[in-house]
């Protein structure tokens, strides 16, 4: 856990993570000039975790970049390595989804599928019985996504037909604060982290997060960056928004129970009402309109819904295991 207190706006440029195997080590070495790029594609990942961290590094170059590695975004060898990791990841995700998909991409079917999800809830634990240390750890791990909240979904906007593109742009506008930077969701989370004395630079937590967090984040950016997977990106968005409002209310109550700074609770307060809207607009106006315009994407929308819930459930189980619960 970090002890550094960040004051002021801080840097938004991440530092490169600690490698977790041969492929991420080779990638970090190449990014810092210590290894020729042509050696990197010959390295095999030591594990799924090693591959996922490598893809996360490649994806971050498309987002904020790294202080030590500027302008490496389109390095062909890194794109090739990333695509290989993404192919393996997508195969694993599709395997998990076999026989587990919502029966259609009808908006009400999708919302009911999310509602009926019976996984153990981290938010319910936070509301009732989590310790302050557990909550700090949870927020630290969640920061990998929340500090770039909505950014991976932004890649999807230009890939959608008119009606769902307009609806997604409207949703994103709300995520980005409706023109008011102080309301931007990622900024609200950063404010909360700073109030807790946590390092709020994007990606600061990366060396600490478990593989489940790497997988969630790589999946989301992969869905955004591959046009072919736009249906899955939209499905993921539906499940993410539709499983947020109630849990955010519980998170805010738990944070106040434990006496956390008001800035952190305020981030979750914002999501109670925002996501009650977004779950409806995502299911009806974004996913519904997409499937109407491109019916062949219905199964990928369902795949995205399942994958979002499945990954959250795996993350929750990993955290409960970690805490001996």
């Amino acid at each position: 856990m970090p002890s550094a207190v960040i004051t002021g706006s801080g840097s938004t440029t991440s530092t490169l993570p600690q490698p977790r195997g041969d492929l991420s080590a080779a990638t970090v070495a190449a990014l810092t000039g210590a290894l020729p790029w042509d050696r990197v594609p010959r390295v095999s990942p030591s594990s799924d975790e090693d591959g996922l961290l490598t893809a996360w590094i490649a994806h971050e170059l498309h987002h904020r970049g790294f202080a030590e590695a500027q302008d490496k975004e389109w390095t062909p060898e890194l794109i090739a390595v990333r695509m290989r990791v993404e192919r393996d990841l997508e195969a694993r995700l599709r395997e998990r989804a076999v026989g587990n998909l919502p029966e259609s991409a009808d908006p009400d079917v999708l919302l009911e599928f999310v509602r009926a999800d019976e996984g153990r809830s981290l938010a319910a634990h936070v509301q009732r019985s989590a310790t302050a240390e557990q909550v700090r750890e949870l927020l630290w791990f969640r920061s990998i996504y929340h500090l770039k909240e909505a950014d991976p979904t932004a890649w999807t906007v230009p890939r959608l037909p008119a009606q769902s593109r307009a609806a997604l742009a409207e949703l994103q506008y709300d995520e980005y604060g409706g023109g008011r930077p102080e309301r931007l969701h990622a900024h609200l989370f950063a404010e909360g982290m700073r109030a807790m004395g946590l390092d709020a630079r994007e990606g600061a937590a990366i060396d600490d997060v478990p593989v489940e967090v790497l997988e969630m984040n790589v999946t989301l950016t992969m869905f955004g960056l591959q046009r072919r997977l736009r249906g899955a990106a939209v499905g993921h968005l539906v499940a993410f928004e539709a499983s947020s409002s109630g849990p955010s209310r519980r998170m805010a109550r738990g944070l106040r129970r434990l006496g956390f700074p008001e800035e952190v609770a305020a981030y979750y307060d914002e999501h109670v009402e925002a996501d009650a809207v977004h779950e409806q607009t995502a299911a009806r106006f974004i996913a519904g309109a997409l499937v109407e315009a491109e019916p062949h994407l219905a199964e990928d929308v369902a795949f995205g819904v399942f994958t979002c819930l499945d990954q959250e459930s795996r993350f929750a189980e990993a955290m409960f295991d970690r805490w001996g619960l």
Binding site: S245, G246, V272
Partner: protein, 71 residues
């Protein structure tokens, strides 16, 4: 800025409002929308009245079978 307001009734869900409006509560207080689309509670169980907080998901009391959308 368009002053047109569009409403969408979500089956077993909120009333979606696209546009800038105020909702006058029974106590006379006017709650103004602060986002591009707002959701007004229709189940009556929200903890954030007049806005929806998705509590309808938990209570599961059907209150509308004839969801309709119009612009």
């Amino acid at each position: 800025m368009s002053r047109r307001v569009d409403l969408t009734v979500c089956p077993n869900g909120p009333l979606l409002i696209r546009g800038d409006i105020g909702v006058r509560a029974p106590d006379g207080e006017v709650h103004r929308t602060e986002r591009p689309v707002s959701a007004v509670c229709r189940c009556g169980k929200s903890a954030s009245l007049p806005w929806c907080d998705a509590t309808h998901q938990a209570i599961r009391t059907p209150f509308d079978d004839e969801g309709d959308s119009h612009e």
